[in-house]
Symmetry: none
Subunit: 221 residues, 2 copies
């Protein structure tokens, strides 16, 4: 049974998460402040951490560098976009803005746990003929090499991390905002278009599917 630590001072959200996680078969552990989290971490090591940024005592940003090696999903209010740039750099593995959809959060938890489980052995993401080697940073479609830019690579990685799920446009923008802070929905369309074309040129098929009004997902067929 996987243990998930919830670091959030909000009683209501914390309880909500606790119940949802229990229902899914996880063992939730709660910490209401950064300092309390550190104390708990000295004694036990959870499999994943849900971290709120606004914390009493030790802030989430200060806590992040100390959580080395444990997958961290940051929960943050949509407003504070300022520090988003540094989050992924300083150790966060994923990012979800409040108010969040519980099902989406659960899916992202599954993804992070899957990545952590297979760590070391295979750094390869693949789905229906598209393969991504995250260590050599190379991508192939039907074994044909595909040369991607940094942004295209980041987008495809998000899609491949949970290939059966729809990735919202806003989440893609959040994930790649580290490298391209000015990227708006208008330019995202262009990136998707270029990515589609490169994959099609190499693999012959169209690999990315649009979900009207929401975002994108990998084509299952």
């Amino acid at each position: 049974m996987k243990t998930i630590m919830i670091i959030d001072d909000d009683i209501y959200i914390g309880q909500l998460l606790e119940e949802a996680l229990s229902r899914e078969g996880f063992r939730p552990v709660r910490a209401y402040s950064g300092t309390e989290a550190l104390l708990l971490l000295a004694a036990q090591r959870p499999d994943l951490i849900l971290l709120d940024l606004m914390l009493p005592g030790l802030s989430g940003e200060e806590l992040l560098p100390k959580l080395n090696g444990i997958p961290v999903i940051v929960l943050s209010a949509k407003a504070d976009v300022g520090g988003k740039v540094n989050l992924l750099r300083s150790g966060a593995d994923d990012y979800v803005t409040k108010p969040f959809d519980i099902d989406e959060l659960l899916a992202r938890i599954e993804v992070q746990l899957r990545i952590a489980a297979g760590s070391g052995s295979s750094a390869v993401l693949s789905f229906r003929g598209v393969e991504m080697d995250t260590s050599s940073r190379s991508v192939t479609a039907e074994c044909a090499p595909v040369k991607l830019t940094k942004t295209e690579y980041a987008i495809l990685k998000q899609l491949l991390l949970s290939p059966t799920r729809v990735i919202t446009k806003s989440h893609i923008l959040d994930m790649i905002s580290e490298d391209t802070p000015d990227c708006m929905e208008s330019s995202l369309k262009v990136h998707i278009s270029n990515l589609r074309r490169k994959l099609r040129d190499a693999g012959g098929k169209d690999y990315i599917e649009s979900v009207w009004g929401i975002g994108f997902k990998m084509r299952e067929e």
Copy 2:
């Protein structure tokens, strides 16, 4: 089964490493101080050592010269670059800054063990015509000798240590910041350029590939 000694006084990081190494099939042995490490080393000889620089008792820098023959990977906080000691010259085989990526560390451990296993006397890194003898500190491209400066040698070594992997610019900067703390991205470009030219003059080909916006890797072709 390979034994790996962790010399680090940080309880939390130590435990993290211990679990990760066990999961990968290694036998971890822990030492919490430099003096304790020496006592343990008198009784047993690990296949590899992970060494933190900030140690109580005997510092990592003092310990390094006494670990003769055993592969050493230094773990160091990015902050304490103050010491002007030349780590790689005094016996360290690789260098990783905290906070580090566990997968990357595991990859580097594999590399060091492979080197150590493949040869008692000749520690040779090679990839596609480029050969580096780390004991005599000599490099050849297509059997033609190449004369490199200290920095160029350190950069090429990083590339050869995991030749299929992309080495980020920041990691290279970390590696050589011991000798040249002021090295910025601007001068790294120059080092890469000089290294490329020397290799090309000797081997005829271009061996180093740029990964736009990320870093460099060895050309696979």
